[in-house]
């Protein structure tokens, strides 16, 4: 077992799946010789050739549409959208096509494709290399949306996504790519889609978070424990659609105080859906109103650093929210 970053773990997961299954192939912009703009697919074209690691034209609808067509004819394609912000031209292919294949054909066809997309605010990213796009897709039955944060989870969930007979949108937060390394198993393993993970046990409040925000939440939780004796339970959904309601509700009922922290705009967000589930199903266990913290309802994280920092919830804002909930 070696320690790996999220980026390395995903790259390794891709390579292993391509070695063990000839029908797995990759297509996307710059995925070949360049190895992707983030280097996730580095070395894969050398190993598997240009036919299975295919540099696609700059046309996202084509990339996802072709992936659908490949899956129709026996392949297991992994399509890479270079930045989540550029996924919109492929929206029709993902939402109206891939996600509908199974239902609209009464189960005759399925669409086993994986769509990888880096998302989230990053310094210098500006409006179009920063967006949290998950809410657009978490209203789409037939599609699965996953967003693992830690390297070992990501590798295991990527394998699950590629082997899943349904379309899976696989979201990777850019700021978590090289943020930390952890032990990643070398042997073949899967982390199932649809199961949340409890990262920290606590009795006082529950915080649900994912992506870069999850790292900040976990840091703040340690600080609150030391400074205030507040023990937060921290839950990562890992799969954003369909949600693991049971794990989330179990924690909410245990602590009676519930907060969701996301980097996305709050209105219409995944945080809204999680909150609605808890508000309804855990109502009699709650000692405080369900709370949410996220980005303000402005279009996206701006380019200049002071504005971007104002957009993304930071440790101070997260600590304030967690303390407010604990003291309620």
């Amino acid at each position: 077992m070696a320690t790996k970053s999220l980026l390395q773990a995903i790259g390794e997961g891709l390579a292993e799946e391509m070695r063990s299954d000839e029908s797995v192939m990759i297509l996307g912009e710059d995925v070949g010789r360049a190895g992707g703009v983030f280097r996730v697919t580095q070395g894969l074209q050398d190993e598997f050739g240009g036919g299975r690691v295919l540099d696609a034209p700059l046309a996202e609808s084509l990339i996802v549409g072709a992936a659908i067509g490949l899956s129709v004819n026996g392949m297991r394609p992994v399509a890479e959208i270079q930045f989540g912000d550029f996924i919109t031209p492929a929206f029709d292919q993902i939402v109206n096509e891939a996600a509908r294949f199974h239902y609209r054909s009464n189960g005759a066809w399925s669409c086993p494709i994986t769509i990888r997309a880096p998302y989230g605010a990053v310094h210098g990213g500006g409006l179009y290399h920063s967006q949290s796009i998950e809410a657009w897709f978490c209203n789409t039955p037939g599609l699965k949306v996953v967003a693992p944060t830690y390297p070992a989870d990501a590798k295991g969930m990527l394998k699950s996504a590629i082997r899943d007979p349904n379309p899976v949108l696989f979201l990777e937060h850019k700021r978590t790519y090289r943020l930390l390394k952890e032990d990643v198993p070398d042997e073949d393993y899967e982390v199932p889609i649809g199961e949340a993970r409890v990262h920290r046990i606590g009795d006082d409040i529950t915080v649900v978070s994912y992506g870069f925000m999850l790292h900040t939440v976990l840091e703040v939780a340690e600080g609150l424990s030391e400074a205030h004796g507040v023990e937060a339970e921290v839950v990562e959904p890992r799969t954003l659609y369909p949600l693991d309601r049971e794990t989330i509700l179990r924690s909410a009922k245990k602590t009676g105080k519930f907060l969701v922290v996301v980097e996305a705009n709050l209105t219409g967000s995944v945080a809204g859906e999680i909150s609605a589930v808890v508000a309804r199903e855990a109502f009699e266990w709650l000692d405080a109103p369900v709370m949410r913290l996220g980005a303000p309802d402005v279009p996206a994280a701006p380019f200049a650093r002071p504005m971007m920092d104002a957009f993304v919830p930071d440790a101070a804002k997260i600590e304030r929210a967690m303390l407010e909930l604990a003291r309620y």
């Binding site: 084509l62 549409g65 072709a66 004819n73 292919q93 189960g107 066809w109």
Partner: protein
């Protein structure tokens, strides 16, 4: 055709009299099934009908060389003649028209004309126009990656060439020399919008820009379309992609919800009816002695009886159960 070649047109194409009768049967069957769905609509038994009338030659000519269950078809919503030719039955299509539980296309989930037959490699179709083109290139790419000789036929009307998906797919097919035939059935109207407000220049001519052949053919002539599709389709032809623009005409309104008197003259339709591909093919068959008037009546009577029986049986079939609406959303591993 070479003027010195004394053989009949179909002989030059390598078609036998039996082939021609099969083509004729498929075209006439599609017409009669289509007519029957309009009657069911007017009887209040079918909420929505969309039509193939006028386009049967383009459809049968293009699909005739395909190997069902091996090559792939991405149909668009008027391709009834193609799906019947490949093996779907009149009863199956009428089940779909009436939204019955047994409807093999979608189990009553989709409007009629949204075809699907996994065992025949007819890929499930939807309503957004043009989405099928990128998918078809992916299916063709899979054949190429595995070194197989399969061919993909993908269809749409002339308006489907206006959006980005068509151009993205044409470009991709050209880059990778993919075994895909783009069949554009240019039927002169996109609901009410005429071709002159839809299409700049020539659709067929655009293929040159993407680096592969494009041909414009008389879409009311089944043999002309067959020649274009057979001669140029990849796999067996050994070439890359081909674009065929079949010039045809939509004889009916866009759908049962459309009143085409708002936007086109009756005289125009009557003029095109004279070019109806079915009587035109029948004149050829009579000329070469393959089908005389009496035999034609016999075939038609047989088809009418078959369609009437299919309709009766489909009408009696049960509707879906309300709870059928709840799935299947996800495929199981």
């Amino acid at each position: 055709m070479d003027v010195k070649d004394a053989r009949a047109r179909h002989e030059v194409l390598g078609l036998t009299g039996e082939d021609l009768l099969r083509m004729h049967y498929s075209m006439l069957l599609a017409r009669r099934v289509d007519e029957r769905s309009w009657i069911l609509n007017r009887q209040g038994k079918a909420p929505f009908v969309i039509s193939c009338q006028g386009q049967e030659a383009a459809q049968v000519g293009a699909v005739y060389g395909m190997r069902p269950g091996y090559d792939y078809l991405y149909p668009y919503y008027r391709d009834l003649a193609m799906t019947l030719f490949l093996g779907q039955s009149p009863r199956e299509q009428l089940l779909s028209v009436m939204g019955k539980r047994e409807d093999p296309n979608s189990g009553g989930r989709q409007m009629p004309g949204h075809f699907s037959a996994r065992e025949l490699n007819i890929v499930t179709a939807s309503a957004p126009v043009g989405v099928q083109y990128p998918q078809a290139t992916g299916t063709a790419l899979a054949f190429k990656v595995r070194g197989e000789d399969g061919v993909v036929l993908v269809c749409g009307g002339e308006a489907s060439t206006s959006g980005g998906d068509w151009h993205e797919a044409m470009n991709f097919a050209g880059i990778h020399d993919l075994p895909v035939v783009f069949l554009v059935q240019n039927n002169a109207y996109a609901i009410s919008v005429p071709e002159k407000a839809q299409v700049a220049g020539s659709i067929a001519g655009r293929a040159q820009g993407y680096g592969f052949p494009g041909v414009e053919v008389d879409g009311m002539d089944v043999l002309a379309v067959y020649e274009a599709a057979r001669g140029r389709s990849s796999g067996r032809g050994g070439g890359g992609p081909t674009l065929i623009e079949a010039k045809t005409y939509r004889i009916t309104a866009h759908s049962s919800d459309d009143d085409d008197r708002r936007y086109r003259e009756r005289e125009e339709i009557e003029a095109w009816r004279l070019k109806d591909p079915i009587p035109r093919f029948e004149r050829y068959l009579e000329e070469i002695g393959v089908l005389d008037a009496e035999a034609r009546e016999e075939v038609d009577a047989r088809i009418r009886a078959e369609v009437a029986e299919a309709s009766r049986s489909a009408e009696e079939a049960p509707p879906p159960e309300p709870e059928d609406a709840l799935g299947p959303v996800y495929a199981g591993r």
